[in-house]
Amino acid sequence: MRDPVGKKVIDIKPSGIRKFFDIVLETEGAISLGVGEPDFDTPWHIRDEGIYSLEKGKTFYTSNSGLKELRTEISRYLKRTQGVTYDPLKEVFITVGGSEAIDLALRAMIDPGDEVLIPQPSYVSYEPCAILADARPVIIELKEKNQFRLTAQEVLDKVTERTKILVLPFPNNPTGAIMEKEDLEEIARVVREKDLYVISDEIYGELTYSGKHFSIIALPGMKERTILINGFSKAYAMTGWRLGYACGPEVIINQMVKIHQFAIMCAPTTSQYAAVEALKNGDEDVRIMKEQYNHRRRYLLSEFERIGLPCFEPFGAFYVFPCIKKFGMSSEDFCTKLLKEEKLAVVPGTAFGDCGEGYIRVSYAYSLDNLKAAMERLERFISRL
């Protein structure tokens, strides 16, 4: 019999998260700080709007690009937060989560052999999606000494004739790192100079704790070179609704929509109606959730300091990324041992790239009570090492 599956897919490494997930499942009574999604329910008025749309019988496909009303709200949102104008009909379109947008952006822009710069540690899907798009992923290792920010020099070190795209995963999962305006200006200079395009994944853009998020699209000449990716999962606690969006130059968006219409048709209609409500009346919900995340962030950092776990101060997303190098074991060993001995699950840094070795990702999308119970276990564990 012939080989049933293709070589390209076989060669892609399975997600490190998946492997760890299976171990955690076997551990009874484990408490987890391992999730990458908010612990809050979607705010009721947003859910209510979704339910209301179902009651009214709005159960049909939307246009391929998504509801015009939603695209208009997204355009308004970007105008009021970043001061950048996108044409809602031509430069904005709705996807099934930010992750679909990552896949489409790469597939729409890549010719076989083009190189994509991917800073790591970062979200698990950039590298496999680049490979599936026949690109050559080139990894940039982010450094703790730079607070896991990307520097212009690091980009220059990896740029070749074939480099076409730079992925910008900030605010970052798993490190919690952010890029500020000054950092981005440096990067934008290199991008323009080397004639690159940027895929800026700003899914955690609403969750920053040292001032407002600044997007690279707001820098001169960068809107023309950037596919901005965002969505509703993190800011509005809407992960299960599967809704994201991409904004960018019409020529790229057109091609992304082309793939999207063949592969997906359109994003879920109910979710789109709910998302309109989120953008119209959800600012206060985001503020309240963000305040809670910030309390927890400060709590974890103060606990790490108390129990002797070194950690740089992250200002974004809902993760902290402490360094475990001083205990002389690999991230995976540390996490496995912590799980076995104290039944506490955190994710090894290596799940987000080889350079995550020596770190663990701790999520604070949990109630303070939950975090306190977890810190008791972590403290006990560390005191024995």
Partner: protein, 162 residues
């Protein structure tokens, strides 16, 4: 948001939090937080620290009633003196001056239906300025002080996710 407002937001939901933890959550100096708390108490902004109890889950019988009260306001005193006469009864837990179809909303807690009924007929209705009352008994509390009293939600998220 000011530190003051942030302190209030946190302790409104969790009055048991200690000063150290409060200062950690706010990223503020512990002494500053302690002083601010003291000032808030002295200014009467923080009026007390209570515990929310769902008595229906205990064996103790309690009856709660809302009473709409219409009164004749008194010259020079308005509603304040009549409100005072009512709120001094220990079984009265809240008194609000209302807009709309009646004047005072009186919330009452008693051990039995009879006890509440007798309070209304013997004490409340007999006050000179009270014109009429309408008593509503609370059958079930679903949500109180922003807290849902039903069973707590379990965390149904996948235990590890990217």
């Amino acid at each position: 948001m000011s530190t003051r407002e942030e302190i209030l937001n946190i302790i409104e939901k969790n009055s048991r939090i200690d000063v150290h933890e409060l200062s950690v959550l706010l990223g503020a100096d512990e002494v500053l937080v302690a002083n601010e708390l003291k000032a808030l108490e002295e200014e009467g902004i923080i009026c007390g620290y209570h515990t929310m109890i769902d008595w229906s889950k205990t064996s103790k019988e309690k009856v709660n009633a809302l009473i709409e009260v219409k009164v004749t306001p008194q010259r020079g005193l308005g509603f304040d003196s009549i409100a005072e006469r009512i709120y001094k009864y220990p079984e009265v837990t809240s008194v609000y001056l209302m807009s709309g179809g009646f004047d005072l909303m009186v919330i009452l807690e008693g051990k039995t239906l009879q006890e509440v009924a007798s309070f209304v007929s013997n004490k409340l209705s007999t006050l000179d300025t009270v014109l009429s009352t309408a008593t509503h008994f609370i059958l079930k509390k679903y949500k109180d002080h922003g807290t849902i009293l039903a069973k707590k939600n379990e965390d149904t998220r996948e235990i590890v996710s990217p």
